[in-house]
Amino acid sequence: MSQAALSLKDDPGPALASRPIGTLPVRLTINGEDHALDLEPWVTLLDLLRERLHLTGTKKGCDHGQCGSCTVLVDGTRLNACLKLAVSLDGSEVTTIEGLGQPGNLHPLQAAFIEHDAFQCGYCTPGQICSAVGLIAEGHAHTRDEVREQMSGNLCRCGAYTNIADAILDVMGQEGRE
């Protein structure tokens, strides 16, 4: 089947007829688990995670790429889940905060965020942690200044920024003083 056949205006054909109207097949691996989904094209990754899969650790803070609360890792890269149509990610691997670590088996960044009190209300926190995982993997930040700039896509209204930087630098094994 040509990829073009996914177009809804084309004849869906017998294989598609059994699906709800307007949906497309989407395969995603989320936190290591395969999901075969039927989704309307206008469903974002964020709404898929929160409303359909009940993975509510990924937060909606603005829904427009303006706060970073929805940051997840797609094929290892940090992205704003609110700006991704889920269909567009067909075949991707998604890691959310739930996939990074669980109570009793925390990711080092999760533990460092607790130790450094790098959050208050906790709402931006999963996005901050996923973003920090991405930041460390990218390898472009080494100093405190660089961490600050590279983490600026994650707003925190409680103002935990200095503690967040401490937590990340702690995990990176850097002092990162000014």
Partner: protein
């Protein structure tokens, strides 16, 4: 968000067929289109997902230059070794924009096609000619802090929000486009347009056309360059004014000069006469002032953005000094060099 048809072509020819409908929108990184879909500003009947097209490479061009695939991400482009070595201005401009997450998703083609951040354009509860031709421009006489001081029209005073595009304008990149009528190459200065009487048209792209690549020309500016961005907070904010400068110095004199401004017009703003003033001259503050005046000639504020006139002038001076001295602005250390 309205409902739309979705297509995921595998090659450019198929994409052009899918995108031939005037109401189609190409989806790449999604960082702007999905935002606008949710705002009900973008209302395509079909979204053509081009993320699977083989346009994500960055390759040297035979005879000089670098071809940036339209689907290469901003991150990949900014950190590409060849870009960093030969076109550090572009790398710096990209890294001055948005956030790591957004740059990881945003593509080069999408970046130059992003739409204005005008408050009114984004708010369907207010009139906007760019969004809905003929409604009128509510920005004129409204909240104009972020609006244009150059090249505005009675129909639209919006600015282009891209940082990358400002760098590309200074580098005199070329935009490669595929369309129903075949391929064509658009000089960067002709790619974006001024609003005029058709503010809904941001670019000279024709309906159904698709950006396939951005070509960087053979001339590199590895040393004497800067991208200086001034904004309302130190990161994650659109430019109030930005300046891209690229200079080639020979024996203490400016052999080639490029200056492009962001945040001040509907397109990255250049003036050949401003750059001509610099050529053949030794770097000097008076000279830079004259160039700044030439570049800003005819600039006019809307009231709340009047400050952009002195700010732009001072920023041009500083950027020229940074470039001439070979001390480009860091996008990490926010202290202005």
């Amino acid at each position: 968000m309205i409902r739309f048809d979705y297509a995921r072509p595998a090659d450019v020819a198929e994409a052009l067929r899918d995108g031939a409908d005037a109401q189609a929108a190409y989806l790449a990184g999604g960082t702007n289109l999905v935002d606008l879909l949710k705002e009900n500003v973008a209302r395509p009947t079909r979204v053509v997902d081009i993320t699977r097209l083989p346009l994500s490479g960055i390759a040297e061009i035979e005879g000089g230059g670098l071809r940036l695939g339209a689907l290469a991400t901003n991150t990949r482009t900014a950190y590409d070794e060849r870009v960093q070595a030969d076109y550090p201005l572009l790398s710096s401009a990209i890294l001055a924009g948005a956030t790591a997450q957004l740059r990881n998703a945003a593509t080069n083609g999408g970046n130059i096609n992003q739409r204005t951040r005008c408050y009114y354009f984004y708010d369907v509860g207010t009139p906007c000619n760019k969004r809905s031709p003929g409604q009128g421009c509510a920005a004129i006489g409204g909240v104009t802090r972020i609006h244009a001081i150059l090249g505005a029209s009675h129909q639209c005073i919006a600015t282009h929000p891209s940082d990358m595009a400002v760098g590309l304008a200074a580098l005199e990149a070329q935009v490669r486009v595929a369309g129903p009528g075949g391929e064509r190459v658009i000089p960067f200065g002709d790619y974006h347009r001024l609003p005029g009487d058709e503010p809904w048209r941001d670019t000279t792209l024709q309906p159904g056309e698709l950006v396939t690549a951005i070509d960087l020309p053979p001339e590199t500016f590895p040393t004497h360059y800067t991208y200086l961005k001034l904004r309302d907070r130190l990161s994650y904010a659109f430019a109030l004014v930005s300046v891209a400068v690229a200079l080639r110095l020979e024996a203490g004199r400016i052999a080639e000069a490029r200056i492009a401004l962001g945040g001040v017009a509907h397109k990255p703003w250049r003036r050949p006469e401003a750059e001509a003033l610099l050529r053949g001259q030794e770097p000097a503050r008076d000279l830079f002032g004259a160039a700044a005046d030439a570049l800003l000639s005819g600039a006019k504020g809307q009231g709340a953005n009047d400050f952009k006139l002195p700010l732009a002038r001072k920023a041009i001076l500083r950027a020229l000094e940074q470039a001439a001295a070979g001390t480009p602005q860091s996008q990490t250390d926010k202290r202005i060099a």
